[in-house]
Symmetry: C2
Subunit: 633 residues, 2 copies
């Protein structure tokens, strides 16, 4: 069990401009507009159980599925996100809406505890017959997370009671007993929720059920085969052909390669890490470490996007990272943040914080528009101008994943143990932690991610000896650190953290100066799509060329000489102040290409200034082309 635990988001006040803007947008626009969308798309209506139910809004696809089977989860996830928002600012209107939803679920729930509005409304006789394809356990997971979050912020128990009753029912159905189904979810998620419920209640049975689902997974004969036979189906008719899709092809401890549906995979690894912590299970931890290496060393976009393929919404072969067709679902990178946080808290190894930050500032933030009411589901790294943000999505999973993440982002900044405090992220926060020696008030002030100048004020109730660990990000070089103006050796940082152990007293401050030059990044040569190409990064932000900043046609015309100077500029005229990167590049000119698609003389190249902006901000102004990996000249 880790010595460090994160300070929960409700105890961390976001003060910096960057996160304040995102949080305010989520509170003022995203959460309310999501409720409007849930209503508009019939998702809330689906929680009442008329008989007969209304016709499907989203007919079954050619595998026989309709997205409507996930709808309970979408509502659950919205309640979770809304509850996090309420922790920042209570809102009677929103709470009324949540209570109304809870009432519907309360009415829908069967006396035995079963609760799934799809099955109850459409095919009640089929409940618990197809975990492989449908989402009964997944839905309960998200509802449970919503119930816990709502209880924590309001103290109202009704939703939590409903969900505890539902989980008690699940526990009668699934387990090792002779009359129980030895099953596990087709889409992992409930394991995370059960772990949270265990942490909330201390009831060990919730932990055991999470562990049962994880440990049962992948055993042969496959449960998914058995349940198919039991319902009269041919297991061979499974559309994906093998259980890599849901990471049920092997027992989890034997899995060494990241495969299948990306969100399923990363949720599962997160649950495995939770269990590894709680049960001090070295086998699970080793599996997590092996899978982490596999995904971050061979299958992750530079934006920390995961899963290149739309076909399985997931992983393919090593180093297969196509840019224009990248799926890189927002949900998968949100999940990566969850997983990274668990991995970080084994030993506080900064490589996990680096990926957490990379996912947060790039693929995840990209998923939500500046106005807070439009979304990316997939996050390609190149586009011809046809990709754009949705006001809603047929499968709205990403919308509430990004809102719940931003509404709770404060929870990723700081951890502490009995005698140490660790700063993982920067951007302007204030919090108070309680060490063995007493309370310590902390304030971190910075204009991060635009600047690497960071001040941390450490204010114990009374002078006390403890350690403050400050993260030196993997992207930074030549950082300087001082305590009360006295330089200390930043090079002494180990695994990405610099330990500052001393007797702290009111007025003490740490200053970090992490230089943020605009820099070039190159991909591993096995990423064939990026050979001869370069990406731009400054601090934690990956940059892209967008047509809005580079008029004159598609940004794919640019080539960047390796020697061209990269210039970072503060632009107060853009998005309330950001930093762009510009360079004297060359642009291929097509004006002398009349009537030829190919020719022997190279395209004419003209000197041209290129301007790059942070990837997460693209497609907030106009439709147009976008490019992360620029060909070198």
């Amino acid at each position: 069990m880790s010595a460090f635990t994160p300070v929960g988001f409700a105890d961390v006040r976001l003060e910096g401009k960057f996160w304040r803007e995102r949080l305010d947008t989520v509170l003022a626009h995203t959460i309310p507009s999501q409720h409007v969308q849930l209503e508009k798309h019939g998702i809330l209506e689906s929680l009442t159980l008329p008989n007969p139910p209304p016709p499907l809004r989203y007919p079954r696809n050619n595998h026989g599925f309709t997205v409507q089977v996930f709808w309970d989860s979408d509502v659950g996830k919205w309640i979770e996100a809304a509850s996090y928002a309420l922790a920042h600012r209570r809102d009677a209107e929103i709470e009324k809406k949540i209570d109304a939803i809870v009432d519907l679920w309360g009415k829908a729930q069967l006396p035995d505890g079963y609760l799934n509005c799809w099955y109850l409304g459409h095919e009640p006789e089929k409940r618990w017959t197809n975990l492989r394809d449908n989402h009964e356990l997944y839905n309960l997971g998200h509802m449970l997370e919503g119930a816990i979050a709502y209880y924590q912020v309001t103290g109202r128990r009704k939703f939590l009671d409903i969900m505890e009753k539902a989980i008690a029912h699940v526990r009668t159905i699934f387990g090792p007993g002779p009359n129980q189904k030895h099953g596990y979810p087709g889409h992992q998620e409930i394991e995370l929720a059960l772990y949270k419920l265990y942490k909330l209640t201390g009831d060990r049975r919730h932990l055991d059920l999470a562990a049962y689902f994880i440990n049962e997974r992948g055993k042969q004969p496959y449960y998914f085969d058995e349940e198919a036979v039991a319902r009269g189906a041919d297991p061979a008719d499974y559309w994906f052909k093998n259980y890599e899709y849901s990471q049920a092809h092997l027992p989890v401890r034997e899995q060494t390669k990241v495969v299948g549906h990306a969100v399923r995979a990363i949720y599962m690894y997160t649950a495995m890490a939770d269990l590894a912590h709680e049960l001090d299970d070295a086998g699970l931890r080793t599996a997590c470490e092996t899978l982490w290496k596999d995904v971050t060393e061979t299958k992750m976009y530079i934006t920390a996007g995961l899963g290149p393929a739309a076909a399985n919404e997931g992983f393919t072969r090593d180093f297969d990272l196509p840019n224009d067709t990248a799926y890189a679902e927002t949900c998968a990178s949100v999940a990566l943040i969850f997983w990274a946080q668990r991995m970080l808290h084994f030993d506080l190894d900064g490589q996990y914080a680096d990926v957490l930050e990379q996912a947060l500032f790039n693929n995840v933030l990209c998923g939500l528009s500046r106005d807070g009411e439009h979304y990316f589901y997939s996050n390609p790294l190149e586009n011809d101008g046809s990709h754009s943000r949705w006001a809603w999505h047929t499968c709205p999973c990403c919308t509430m994943n990004v809102s719940r993440l931003i509404a709770s982002v404060g929870g990723y900044f700081v951890s502490h143990s009995d005698d140490a405090i660790a700063f993982h992220l920067y951007g302007g926060i204030a919090t108070t932690v309680t060490l063995k020696s007493g309370k310590v008030a902390l304030r971190e002030t910075s204009n991060y991610p635009w600047s690497g100048e960071i001040r941390i004020e450490v204010e114990p109730e009374a002078p006390a000896a403890f350690t403050v660990k400050v993260r030196i990000p993997g992207w930074s070089k030549g950082g300087k650190v001082s305590v009360n103006g006295q330089a200390i050796d930043a090079g002494a940082a180990v695994n990405g953290y610099l330990d500052i152990t001393r007797t702290w007293a009111k007025g003490d401050r740490i200053d970090l100066d992490l230089p943020m030059p605009a820099e070039r990044l190159y991909a591993h040569p096995s990423v064939s799509m990026d050979v001869g190409r370069v990406a731009l990064r400054r601090g934690p932000l990956v940059y892209c060329l967008e047509e809005a900043d580079n008029s004159g046609g598609a940004v794919q015309r640019f080539r960047l000489p390796r020697t061209a100077e990269l210039k970072a500029s503060t632009r107060s005229d853009l998005f309330d102040g950001i930093v762009t990167i510009s360079a004297d590049a060359v642009a291929l000119e097509a004006d002398d290409w009349r009537q030829a698609l190919y020719r022997t003389n190279p395209p004419r190249q003209e000197t041209a200034k290129l301007t790059a902006l942070p990837y997460y901000l693209w497609n907030n102004r106009q439709q147009g082309s976008m490019l992360v990996w620029v060909p070198e000249a």
Copy 2:
């Protein structure tokens, strides 16, 4: 009507090594093995009409289609290919097999002439109710082409009689009359066959029917909508959503952009060009020229592959030419050869011959393996080693398209008018043409495409004045031409042809020396996939890097400096003698990339020799990576 007509393949003897090898392979291996495959896959069996029919080998897909509805066409196309083979070398065994097939069709045909083994065997009551999706007219087209070819080589009429009866039936069903259906094929093809039948029989009704199908196409209200309503379906349920898929969105004369399914499109343009020739229809010709410009200037791979997208087996937006996912169906480039030949014969403009040659030596030849028994359906320009040739294909259209093309390739070499002879392709042929002035024996000797040294011997029965037009390919620069050793000005060539008008006598010879340096090609800057990349070409052949010639990992590791010398080498050890291109390039090394997917210092580059071989030959030795467009260093 064109002054020039092609000399038919049966009158052109292939003598050069390059085409002899391909032709012998097709005769000895491809044609017989295709019959074996037709038998093995139940396609021949489908021509007998048991009741009930056997269960589907290829179940309907999610649009309700099964490839089995095309099977008549596959057999028809095999008979066409086999008949072309018989023109080179009669074969009683093959003829017996064809006669057996013809007998089955004879038995299947209804007294009214209707013939379609799918409908007759599975849903006879539905005949002529769904031209949009099914393939009754398309099938008849291929069967008719087979019947004509078989009749021409053997003089046996039975198949032709069956097909004339079937066409007479079609003529009763479709046409402008009040009791006729004002329809046209969902997959164009029969128009080409009807034109051939008209040319064979002189029966104007066949020409009129072809013109009817072309002219009716795209008129509103749409026939496909009307027939859908008539069969009780909702036209809006059409999976492709609009009729661009089958080029039925607009009347053909109003079409200016190449859209939809590539094979459908190019077959249609070919038929339009046939009609433009025959009817001296300037409107159709202009439409063809506009569409030709559109496709060759914005939508054609450097291999003359057409149609980047698998989703519609066809065209997308201008300049969208992804390399690794290129569909570039073999059939589409075979069709391009058909179309180019028609366009060429308007005015003998060499741009059409250039594309014909480009398609032939690259995308089309690539479709057939060296052993003559394996095929590419799609022809990507980059691959990670997973793409490989098929022994057969679920939809075997390409297999017989490539065999019929190679078996009749001699028909693309020479044309003549009353007083002129034109050479379009080179590679070693002998033929005799009859001009107004008498017969002229011709022999072209060369080691083309490996060498541009070409000798043409012109031998009239008696000395006579006429013109010999020799094509100076668009790819060639600085070519020299001499007549009987006397240099003439090759620069006087107009539109790709050099006219040599004189009194010719026995012993006269023309010598062409077309230098074939290995050279670099660049794509139009709007082809974003190829920015910063270069392709290699020598003569008409586009080259690629294949792992078999470049050991040490994926060929995607190479970068080619713009200044690196390209060296062409004759390699007698490869494929009975070919020319490769090699260069001192650089290769990205991954040995210092432990545990990192991205980094700030560029990949280490080592000098490395790169070897390229003709694209059409790839995947004939081992599985491995392949690349046409190489990043520049």
